[in-house]
C-alpha cells in the first residue's frame, strides 16, 4: 500500500515508523515460518536417520516380524500391525459410543443445564494426561478385566484372536484404554459439529413431521457428516501416535501374535521403550519405524482435512 504517496497524507511518516512497521511484519513472518521449519526438520532428521536401515532392509522391513537387537535383524511388522489394529479396533468401539453421546448431549434429551455439565465433563476427560490413564489402566482396569478376559479365552479360545491366556498387559487392555482416550475427542468434535447444524434445517426436518430420531438419523447426522468424519480421522491419528497409556499396558512384546490377549507392541511404544538405550543399526531401524508412523499420521491428518473440505454442507 502506498500510504505515504496518498494525497490525503498530511505528514510523511518518519523512516523510524516505517522501519518499525516493516520490522514487525518480517518478525511475524519469521515466527510463522518456524512452524514449517520445525516440521520439515522433523521429517529430514527422521528420514536421514532411517536411511541406514532402509538400505539394509528395504521394504522387507515392513513385512518382517523379527526384532532381534543381538543379531541386528530388524523388521517392524509386529509394531505396525499393533499400531493399526489397536487404533482401528479402538475406533470401531469409540465411534458409535462417541457419536451417540454427542447426539444425546446436543439433541435436547436433557435439560439445558445438565447438558452443559455433561459437555464440560467430557471436555475434562479429554484433558486428563494419558500417563494418568495408563496408571489407572495398570492399577485398576487391567486387574479388574482379567477374569473377564480369561473367560473369553476359555470359551472363545479356538478363535485365533483369543488364543492365548491373558497374563496381564496385552493388546486388549491397550485397545480399551485407547477407547477411553478417544471417546472424549470424538464426542467433543461431534458435539461441536452437531451444534453448528443450522436451526433452519432442524425446523425443516421437524416441520414435515419427522420424529426426533427420524430428524437426527435422516437429516441432522447426514448434514454433520463432514465434521464428524474429520473428527474420527483426527482421533485415528491420535490413536496411532498415542504413546504413554499404550506403552504402559500393551506389554511391549516384539513377538508377533494374532491374539488380542497376548502382549503386543506399537511403533510409538517401541520408540518409548527402546529409543533411549538403542545404538547403531537399532537406532536407524527405530527411526525407520518412526518414519512409517509419521507418514501414517500425516496421511490420516491430510485425509481428515480433505474430508472436512469435501463433504462440507453448503448451506446458504
Amino acid at each position: 500500500m502506498a500510504e505515504s504517496a496518498s494525497p490525503f497524507t498530511q505528514r510523511r511518516r518518519t523512516w523510524k515508523d516505517r522501519a518499525l512497521d516493516h520490522g514487525f511484519h518480517w518478525l511475524s513472518v519469521v515466527l510463522a515460518s518456524l512452524v514449517g521449519v520445525v516440521l520439515i526438520a522433523i521429517l529430514v532428521v527422521v528420514f536421514g536417520g532411517s536411511l541406514e536401515a532402509m538400505v539394509a532392509y528395504g521394504f522387507n522391513f515392513l513385512i518382517r516380524s523379527s526384532w532381534d537387537p543381538i543379531n541386528n535383524q530388524y523388521g517392524a511388522f509386529t509394531a505396525i500391525y499393533g499400531t493399526l489394529v489397536s487404533s482401528i479396533l479402538a475406533l470401531l468401539i469409540a465411534v458409535p459410543l462417541g457419536v451417540g453421546s454427542a447426539v444425546f448431549i446436543t439433541e435436547a434429551f436433557l435439560p439445558f443445564g445438565i447438558r452443559k455439565i455433561i459437555g464440560g465433563m467430557v471436555e475434562l476427560l479429554a484433558a486428563i494426561p494419558s500417563v494418568v490413564l495408563g496408571l489407572w489402566a495398570i492399577f485398576v482396569m487391567e486387574p479388574t478385566l482379567r477374569p473377564l478376559l480369561s473367560d473369553i479365552h476359555e470359551t472363545l479360545g479356538w478363535i485365533p484372536l483369543f488364543s492365548t491366556a491373558p497374563m496381564g498387559p496385552g493388546m486388549a487392555p491397550a485397545v480399551l484404554i485407547l477407547v477411553v482416550m478417544l471417546l472424549p475427542i470424538i464426542t467433543c468434535i461431534s458435539r461441536d459439529t452437531l451444534d453448528q447444524v443450522p436451526v433452519e434445517l432442524r425446523f425443516a426436518a421437524y416441520g414435515v413431521g419427522s420424529s426426533r430420531w427420524q430428524s437426527i438419523i435422516k437429516i441432522i447426522l447426514p448434514a454433520a457428516i463432514s465434521g464428524i468424519a474429520g473428527g474420527v480421522l483426527l482421533a485415528l491419528g491420535r490413536a496411532m501416535g498415542e504413546t504413554m497409556a499404550v506403552t504402559m499396558i500393551i506389554g511391549n512384546s516384539t513377538n508377533f501374535s494374532f491374539s488380542l490377549l497376548a502382549p503386543g507392541n506399537t511403533i510409538a511404544s517401541m520408540l518409548a521403550n527402546q529409543f533411549g538405550e538403542a545404538d547403531g543399526l537399532q537406532v536407524s531401524a527405530l527411526l525407520y519405524a518412526a518414519l512409517v508412523l509419521m507418514v501414517l499420521t500425516l496421511l490420516v491428518n491430510l485425509l481428515a482435512e480433505w474430508v472436512v473440505r469435501r463433504l462440507r454442507l453448503h448451506y446458504s
Binding site: A204, G207, V208, S210, K218, P222, A223
Partner: protein, 272 residues
Amino acid sequence: MNILTSHSPEARSSSTCLELENVTIRYGRQEAVRNVNMRIPSGKVTAFIGPSGCGKSTVLRSINRLNDLIPGCTLAGRVIFQGHDLYSSQIDPVQVRRRIGMVFQKPNPFPKSIYENIAYGARINGFRGDMDALVEGSLRQAAVWEECKDKLAENGLSLSGGQQQRLCIARAISIAPEVILMDEPCSALDPISTGKIEDLVRSMRGQFTVVIVTHNLQQAYRISDLAGFFNVIPSSDGFSKVGVMEEFGDTSQIFNAPRQDTTRDYVAGRFG
C-alpha cells in the same frame, strides 16, 4: 389490557380451524407475547402483521409446536386444533406437525436431491401412493415443476432462492396437511419470486388453511382474508417489551376501518 377479537359475519360463518385462547409465550422468564386470543377459520388465508419484535413469528411457531425446539420456550393458555388442545400432555407434537405444515423465512430445503426433498416427508408420513406422481404433483402445484423437472436428482440447494422457497412450499403441501404456516416466506426473495409465491398462496385458499406472517402490508392486503395486527408495547416492569395482538378481523376491515388507533397508524405507514 384491552383485547379486541372481532369477527366479521363471513369469518363466523365458516368453521373454525384453530383457536388461540389466552396464549402467552415466554423465553425463559421473559414474556414474548401476552394474552393472544383468536379464531382462525378453515380454508382462509390469515395474515399476521405488525412491527418487528412483536412476536408474530413466535405465535406462528407455537401453532405447530415448533417452539418446542427452542430451549426455554414455554406457552401458557390453549391452542385448539379441531377440538384438541395441542399443548395437553397427551398430544404428540410429531402428529401435530404432520397435520400443520410450515414454510420458513429462509428457504431451507434438505441438503438432498430435489426429488428426495419431497419424498422424504411423504415416506415418513407413511405415503402409500405413487411417489413419482406425488413429487410431480406437489412441484406443479408449487409452480416450480417446469424449472426442476429435468434435474430432480440434483441437490435442492443448487436451485435459486425463489425456486428453493417454492420447493419448500411443495414439500409442505406434499404431505397434505390441513394447515400451512408461512413465516415471512418472501422476505429473502426478489419481487418476481415474491409475486409467484403470492399467486401460489391465493391458489391454496379453500384447500388449505393458511396462516402467514408478513411485514409487507401490501402483501397482506393482496392475499389475506383475515388479518391480525400485532404490536409491541412496554412490559409492566417497564424495562422490557412484550408483544400483544391489538386487533383481529377481516383484512378489508383492518385496512379500511381499523378500530384501534395503533392499527390505523400502522397500516397508514406511520410506524413499524
